[in-house]
């Protein structure tokens, strides 16, 4: 079967980009021919995909597969195509997180949500990377749905993990309003009053320059020298940061899956997260999920994890088990099952 596989942006270090490439390889292993298309292609991946407007020159596929994660002209293009369509949904951040910061991004996300509603009516099958995302597709009227997690390679477990004092806390993710890094910085200000020298590492590029500036100003005001913005890092550096972290803290207000939570668990880092969107589903009882993210509560959780060796040990055991359930083999198996059923239907 010839599958034309679409994504808005194909990037080597972005969760959807990594997933797209891994799924493409899996479909090839299953004996299907694939061609990747994107609206924006990272220079490192130029040879791997073509511009989506070139599709007409490549021939007629048996199936269209779309990685839906934002508003994009790719979706409008697909809505005009007659071939069967499969939607692989990674969630869209609600626009109101971006509206005050980058109104154009908010507008793009709003457009994405409208596109999603049309795509859901048009697509025969959907694959969502969490039950949370699947419920959104079901609410849009989709019936043939599968849940299969994001495909990615979790980092290896460091040879030995020791808790250091002062501690290092880590969050990995774009600097974006829905990820609420300001709450991490506020929490850090309180933590450093009790544990001077504690530091917060924020890995990830800025999706909004205005938001980044505000975060840096806040950090300079309430927590000078306590927060390190390290930007985008390669896989080796990322593994190193997971190796150095004493806890992974995620206070995001919206996540469709949150790959870094699983990466942290795989690396043996205890996870503390705020109960929002798909985060509790991804954590799955293997980390501390808080209903309240006021600084005192989060600091209490961090101190408990740092001081209670037994809890840390239990979180590490549970986390690794959880990470295994999302590991490459398990995730590939779920995708294989989903796509064998879908492609069987389409054929």
């Amino acid at each position: 079967m010839l599958i034309h596989h679409y994504t808005a942006t194909l990037s080597p270090r972005d969760a959807v980009g990594v997933h797209t490439l891994a799924l493409d390889a899996l479909l090839n292993e299953l004996g299907h021919e694939t061609q990747l298309f994107a609206a924006s292609i990272h220079p490192e991946l130029r040879g791997r995909a073509r511009d989506f407007q070139d599709q007409d020159r490549v021939g007629t596929p048996d199936l269209l597969l779309y990685q839906a994660s934002t508003g994009s002209p790719v979706a409008d293009h697909l809505l005009r195509r007659p071939e069967p369509l499969v939607l692989n949904y990674h969630n869209l951040t609600p626009a109101d997180h971006f509206d005050p910061w980058e109104a154009h991004v908010g507008a793009e996300l709003d457009a994405g949500r409208r596109q999603l509603a049309r795509l859901a009516r048009r697509a025969g099958h959907g694959v969502a990377d969490s039950r949370y995302n699947a419920e959104e597709l079901a609410a849009l009227g989709m019936e043939r749905l599968w849940v299969a997690p994001v495909l990615f390679d979790p980092p290896p477990l460091p040879a030995q993990r020791v808790t250091r004092d002062p501690p290092t806390l880590l969050f990995v993710g774009r600097l974006a309003p829905n990820k609420a890094q300001q709450d991490l910085i506020s929490m850090m200000a309180l933590l450093r009053e009790r544990r001077p020298g504690a530091r917060l590492i924020l890995v990830g590029t800025a999706s909004s320059a205005r938001y980044e500036t505000a975060l840096r100003t806040l950090a300079d005001t309430v927590c000078p020298d306590g927060v390190e913005f390290v930007g985008s890092v390669d896989q080796a550096s990322l593994i190193e940061w997971y190796g150095r972290a004493d806890a992974f803290v995620c206070l995001s207000e919206h996540e469709g899956f949150c790959v870094p939570v699983i990466e942290a668990m795989a690396a043996g880092v205890p996870v503390i997260a705020f109960d929002a969107a798909a985060v509790p589903e991804t954590v799955g009882g293997a980390g501390i999920v808080l209903d309240d993210k006021r600084p005192a509560v989060v600091v209490g959780a961090i101190e408990r994890v740092l001081d209670d060796a037994e809890l840390r040990e239990q979180m590490m055991i549970a986390g690794q088990e959880r990470a295994r359930s999302f590991g490459p083999e398990a995730a590939r198996r779920q995708h294989r099952d989903a796509f064998e059923a879908i492609l069987g239907d389409v054929a």
Binding site: Q182, S186, L190, A214, P295, A296, G300, D308
Partner: protein, 312 residues
Amino acid sequence: MTDPSNLDAAAYIALARAEIEADAERLRRQDPELARRERELERAWVDVAPPGAAGEQRELLLDRAERLSMIDVDAPIGSRPGVRHVKGAIRKGTYWYLRYVTDQMNALTNVLVRLLRRLDDRLTEVEGTFGLGDADALIDPPAQPSRAVSQAIATVVNEGPAVVLSCGEGSVVAALQDRGLSVVGVDRDPLRILEGVKSGLDLRVGDPRRHLGDLAEHSIRTLVLVGFVEDLAPAAAWNLVMEARTAVSAGGVVVVVASDPAEREPVERDLRQGRGLAPVTWAHLLERAGAETQQLEVNDPRYRTVVSGRFG
């Protein structure tokens, strides 16, 4: 701290979470400085975030509005040689006019913000007068339903998933769990649920109304409403019944455990925020919403009648 020897990892982590939230709550109650510090940190973010990006807290929004209400005009009025005098005069005239307009705008917005602040003060005063503020701190929360109430509920409820809102220490949750139902309890106070969590019940900290609003349509079979229903005004009670009807599936049951306001002690009658509704009134509302109701007499000093409504 908990002894982990008898617990598996997930249960141990869940218990640790409950203890963390309870500790933070306890600390916040004991140390007002902590709440002040949290507020300071929140304000620091409000100062650098654009309007609308840092929540909707009244006082913070007013502070923000006050700062934004002042427009500062700093127009360049110097000029290069040559036609210096003419250009300078034009620029000074423009500057004078801009200053004149912005002064008026500043005065207007400043008055509006002052009025908002006055309104805010009045609202705070009204809340204080009518006990909408901290009056609850003067009396204990409603007593937990006794074993008799839990048993009565268990006789009309036989299907899960079930949710108990304002579950307290979890006596109703335990009774339903003993009947083999899948049941979750939600309560605002982490200190109250702690004992229940320790005994293995699935109790979570959260706002009961918000939890109900977050439930998917027709996603549960049984909904038990306790505690927070004690002081609802009629409109809020009706909204609650409608939300409850949406949450339960066809054939699902909504149970209301509420005391009769007419039978309350004088101190509670005087100090409880709202009057609340009598069980018979709850039954009336459930019937209006389309439920078949049943009223069970119970041997409990506070909750003498438990009302259940089954939606078709």
